[in-house]
Each structure stands twice: as structure tokens, then as C-alpha cells.
């Protein structure tokens, strides 16, 4: 190869940054393509530069790691080894016929109307994840936001949705969200977590593989106490109330089967509900390339290779496990891609540290996933008139009817019968709910494009040979 090989890394969160730095420092020319205007992804999301923030908006986790990544990015850019394309929304990655290379198709700028293509010899998909939210009556009211959405608006826009917040659902994300909202001046009326301490105790040995992360959790708990945030475990939000916007939520204790216990309902006044039930991997680009999935995540080998030659994947796209796992996987992917692009076999000894970090983080993530599983009976009591598909306004009753009376046995048939999943978000929001209500497995979306593409951009593409 006379020219240095080119590696496209899609996503500039922890996994993408780690992959880009590992590959760039091994002589590969890296093109880092990301939708945001600054590197960091959701985890290291920074306030918009024009806001002139001089301190982070929330207690900062792993600040030193972020500073190291940012410094590395700057160094490689200055040396001409790395190009960082910001504000580039990737809608498809395609394998070129013949050359063995890839074309990354993106839309540039806030309007997302200008098509851009980037060619590369190999690709690392570090596309991250998005939030799973299970429906309940009132979850479409303005003032109800996802936990991650509340955090994104706070971190990036330095803005609060209201004055009195309830943070609810399940998962480790709820802790920094409640802490961040409280530190930014919201009154957090309650943190409502459906998991109970017993679930964590049962998995205590597996959780101790990452004592640092446990300490981080304890730090959040201490801050919640300081802000006088009440934590209700084994509780869930049963309904959100309001006309035009959120005014209150009803929460209730859960029984052993994960159903609201009669007589335990209580109403909490609030103007903001930040709610989430864990994350799901973004796999659209991998699926369009033909990469095999394992459950809802991209399947990778020990080098983070997918089963499509030339395509690596790292971070939440390969299974949700948090920033530490994403960093380890990204590093391994970048290291492997660089070696393979030069026709070498990567030396496993040179990534032994990252391998160990990955193993520990995966064990920890598996234990967390078990602790923070949404309550098993969440769908049982969901009223028939609850909107499930937010885009097409399809109710729980119609989804149940499709699976029950009409006999739909998979999410695709439910979609054809009810339009659930046929709207703007293409089932990203209602997919888990449809699966839970019908008993159909939660399958990958099989979306040809990862985001809406203007017809003019499609029409302007050169003809395939």
C-alpha cells in the first residue's frame, strides 16, 4: 500500500474517540465522523461553546479520562493524522463493490440537507445507544422527558425543563440525572427506581469487579442525600397527569411480580418527569452493512470485528455497558483495525490491559443489567387507551388486539396491522413496548437508513456500476 490506509470512525463518544486515537497513533489516517459540533458523545457532552461555561454543569465523572482523550484528539489533528468531521449525520455506510473499501454517507450541517461522502478502507462503528422508555398513561405530556434527554439538555444547553422534577424508571443513569438536576437548581421531589436493594445484593460478588464504579454510585447517593432527594426503590410511575403539560405523577410500590401494589399509590406534584428504563444499542448502520447481530447488539469477536470484513464495532452498539467498557472496546477496535489495515495480525500482548478492562466491565454490565431489569409485569396493568407508539398514536389496546384477536406473531406484523413503529422514529421508541405487550421478541429494526434523507441527496448519488 503506497498511501496510508484510511479508517472511518463513526461516532465521537468514548468508544469512537478511543478507537480513533489507537488507530491514529499506529500510522492510520483516521476520519472521525460525528453528528455533534464537539467531540464527547452523550457521556462527555460539553456545553455549547457559545455559552461560555467555565465549569461543568454537573459533578464531573472521569474528568481526567476526558481531558486525555481531548488532548489526544487535538494532537493527532494537529499532526494531520486525524480529521474530525463535526455536524456530519451519517445515514448509511456502504461497502464498495470491487475495491473492498467503504463509502460513508452523511448529511452535513444543522439543516441536514447537504449530502457528503467519505471513502475509507475500513470502518469502526461507534454509534452508541439510545434510551428505552416503557409507556404509561400520560407519558406523551410535555414535561415528560427521557432521563438522558434531561441530562443532554442540561449538559449541552445549560437549561432545566422546570422547577420540580421526578426522576423515574430503572438503571444506573437515574443517579447522575437526579444529581445533575438537583445541582443545577431543580427540586427533585423523588428518585423512583423499580429495582430493589435485594436484586443488587444477590449479585454483590459480580458487582465488586469494578469497585471504582461502585464508589462513584455511592458518591451520587451521598449527593442525593445532601440535596434531600427522597429515593423510592421498588416503586414505579403509574401515570403522569396534566392538561397541556405535566402537573403531577402517581407512583406506587411494586409487588414481587413487578406489579403496582393496590393501596400504595401516591401523587407527587412536579412539572418535569425524567424517565428511562435502560439503553438499547444503535445498530442501523451495522445492519445495513449486513453485520450479524446478537440479540439487539452488533456481534463482535475478541478484536471487536463484526462478521463483515473491514467493519469493526465498539461501545454501546455491541451491547450496553457504559463508558469504561466503551473505552476498552474502542481501544481494542482501533488497535486491531490499524494492524489489519497494514496486513498484520494484532499482537494481543499490546492490548492486554484493555482486554482485562473489557472483561471486568462486561461482567459488571451483565450484573447491572440483571439488577436493573424493568419489572417483569410492567405491561400487565397498562390501560388499553395508553398511547404506545408516540408517532402514530397507536394505543396499547390496538397493539394487544393485533397480537391477540388478529394473531400477529412478530413486531413487523403488529406494525402492518396497527402502524405502531411506522412513524418518524421508525419504532425506536415503541419497539420495546410492542414487544412487552405482545410477547413478540424485541428484534432489530432493519432500517435501510439510519436517519431521514432528503430525496435530493438520494437523487444526487452517482449511479452504481
Amino acid at each position: 500500500m503506497t498511501e496510508r490506509p484510511r479508517l472511518a470512525v463513526v461516532g465521537a463518544g468514548p468508544a469512537g474517540l478511543a478507537a480513533a486515537l489507537a488507530a491514529a497513533s499506529r500510522g492510520v489516517r483516521v476520519i472521525l465522523v460525528d453528528a455533534a459540533d464537539q467531540a464527547g458523545g452523550q457521556f462527555y457532552r460539553q456545553p455549547a461553546a457559545a455559552l461560555g461555561a467555565r465549569r461543568p454543569p454537573a459533578p464531573h465523572h472521569r474528568r481526567r479520562t476526558w481531558e486525555r482523550l481531548r488532548a489526544g484528539l487535538g494532537r493527532h489533528r494537529a499532526a494531520g493524522r486525524l480529521v474530525h468531521l463535526t455536524d456530519h449525520h451519517v445515514w448509511c455506510v456502504a461497502r464498495e463493490s470491487g475495491s473492498g473499501g467503504f463509502t460513508v454517507h452523511a448529511l452535513r450541517g444543522p439543516g441536514q440537507e447537504e449530502g457528503v461522502t467519505v471513502r475509507a478502507d475500513a470502518v469502526v462503528l461507534a454509534t452508541g445507544g439510545y434510551e428505552r422508555v416503557l409507556p404509561f398513561p400520560g407519558w406523551t405530556l410535555p414535561g415528560v422527558v427521557t432521563a438522558g434527554g434531561a441530562q443532554a439538555m442540561l449538559k449541552g444547553g445549560l437549561v432545566l425543563p422546570g422547577r420540580v422534577a421526578v426522576v423515574a424508571g430503572t438503571g444506573p443513569l437515574l443517579l447522575p440525572v437526579a444529581t445533575g438536576l438537583a445541582a443545577a437548581g431543580a427540586r427533585v421531589a423523588a428518585l423512583v427506581e423499580s429495582a430493589g436493594p435485594a436484586a443488587a445484593l444477590r449479585r454483590a460478588p459480580a458487582l465488586t469487579v469494578r469497585p471504582g464504579t461502585l464508589a462513584e454510585g455511592a458518591g451520587y447517593a451521598a449527593r442525593l442525600l445532601r440535596h434531600r432527594v427522597r429515593t423510592l426503590t421498588r416503586h414505579t410511575v403509574v401515570a403522569a397527569h396534566g392538561t397541556g403539560r405535566l402537573e403531577a405523577v402517581t407512583v406506587a410500590a411494586l409487588d414481587r411480580a413487578g406489579r403496582p401494589r393496590p393501596g400504595t399509590a401516591r401523587r407527587l406534584a412536579c412539572d418535569t418527569l425524567a424517565v428511562g428504563h435502560g439503553l438499547l444499542p444503535h445498530t442501523d448502520l451495522a445492519e445495513a452493512l449486513g453485520c450479524a447481530l446478537s440479540g439487539t447488539a452488533v456481534r463482535v469477536d475478541g478484536e471487536q470485528r463484526t462478521d463483515v470484513p473491514g467493519v469493526w464495532a465498539a461501545g454501546e452498539a455491541t451491547g450496553v455497558g457504559g463508558a469504561a467498557l466503551a473505552l476498552a472496546e474502542g481501544h481494542i477496535a482501533g488497535h486491531s483495525a490499524a494492524a489489519r489495515l497494514y496486513g498484520a495480525v494484532p499482537d494481543p500482548r499490546r492490548r492486554a490491559g484493555a482486554d482485562r478492562a473489557r472483561s471486568r466491565a462486561r461482567a459488571f454490565a451483565a450484573a447491572l443489567e440483571a439488577v436493573y431489569a424493568p419489572p417483569a409485569g410492567w405491561a400487565d396493568g397498562l390501560p388499553d387507551d395508553t398511547v404506545v407508539c408516540r408517532c402514530e398514536e397507536v394505543t396499547a389496546g390496538r397493539v394487544r388486539e393485533a397480537a391477540g384477536t388478529l394473531g400477529a406473531g412478530d413486531a413487523r406484523t403488529v406494525k402492518l396491522l396497527t402502524r405502531a413503529g411506522m412513524g418518524w422514529c421508525q419504532g425506536r421508541m415503541c419497539g420495546p413496548a410492542v414487544a412487552g405487550l405482545t410477547g413478540c421478541p424485541l428484534t432489530a429494526g432493519r432500517r435501510p437508513f439510519a436517519r431521514p434523507v432528503p430525496l435530493g441527496v438520494l437523487a444526487g448519488l452517482p449511479d452504481a456500476e
Binding site: A50, A152, G157, L158, V159, P161, G244, R245, C391, W424
Partner: protein
């Protein structure tokens, strides 16, 4: 108290935009959604089916609930689009194309 004070932010000068004809001050760097939230506005869309109010939900461009009409262009995701001086922001009803 508020996030700007907490971060000791020194934002650039605020600009003026309108939301449904009403002038609002908006800080540079914020998205349309963040600017509307900061002005106390949480709903800026009526759904296609039942006309129910919607605003930000996912905050990261995945759910499409925050669609809004900006400078006569409907279906803009308010959580992604940066606010610009003089923007004319309107509540989007239905597909946003009925009033073209």
C-alpha cells in the same frame, strides 16, 4: 442556582427570535428546544392524529417528538437545530405542511 450561574457561564449576547409571533430572548449555542425551554415553553407541536401537544422527549434526535417549524421549514428537530438570530419559530400542527 440556575445552570448558567452554576457553570459560571459567560454566554455571547442574546438574540431575539419569535415563537408563534411572540418575541423571545435566546442565548447563542442553544438549540431551538433549549431556547424554548429557557423561555418556559415546553410544547410546540400538535400531533397529526389527535392534535395533542408535544415538546422535547429524547433530547438527542431519536424520537422526532420535538418537530417544529423554523423559518417556514416544518419537521425540524428542535433538539438538534441551533437557534439563530431572527428565527421565526412556529408551533407545528399535523405534518406542518397544511399551512404552506
Amino acid at each position: 442556582m440556575n445552570p448558567l450561574k452554576r457553570t459560571r457561564a459567560r454566554p455571547g449576547p442574546a438574540c431575539t427570535v419569535t415563537f408563534d409571533g411572540r418575541p423571545l430572548r435566546a442565548l447563542p449555542g442553544r438549540t431551538v428546544a433549549a431556547a424554548l425551554w429557557a423561555a418556559g415553553v415546553t410544547a410546540w407541536r400538535g400531533t397529526r392524529g389527535t392534535g395533542k401537544p408535544r415538546g422535547v422527549f429524547c433530547g438527542i434526535g431519536v424520537c422526532f417528538d420535538c418537530l417544529v417549524t423554523v423559518n417556514d421549514r416544518p419537521n425540524q428537530r428542535a433538539c438538534l437545530v441551533p437557534v439563530r438570530p431572527g428565527d421565526v419559530i412556529r408551533t407545528q400542527r399535523g405534518t406542518g405542511r397544511d399551512d404552506d
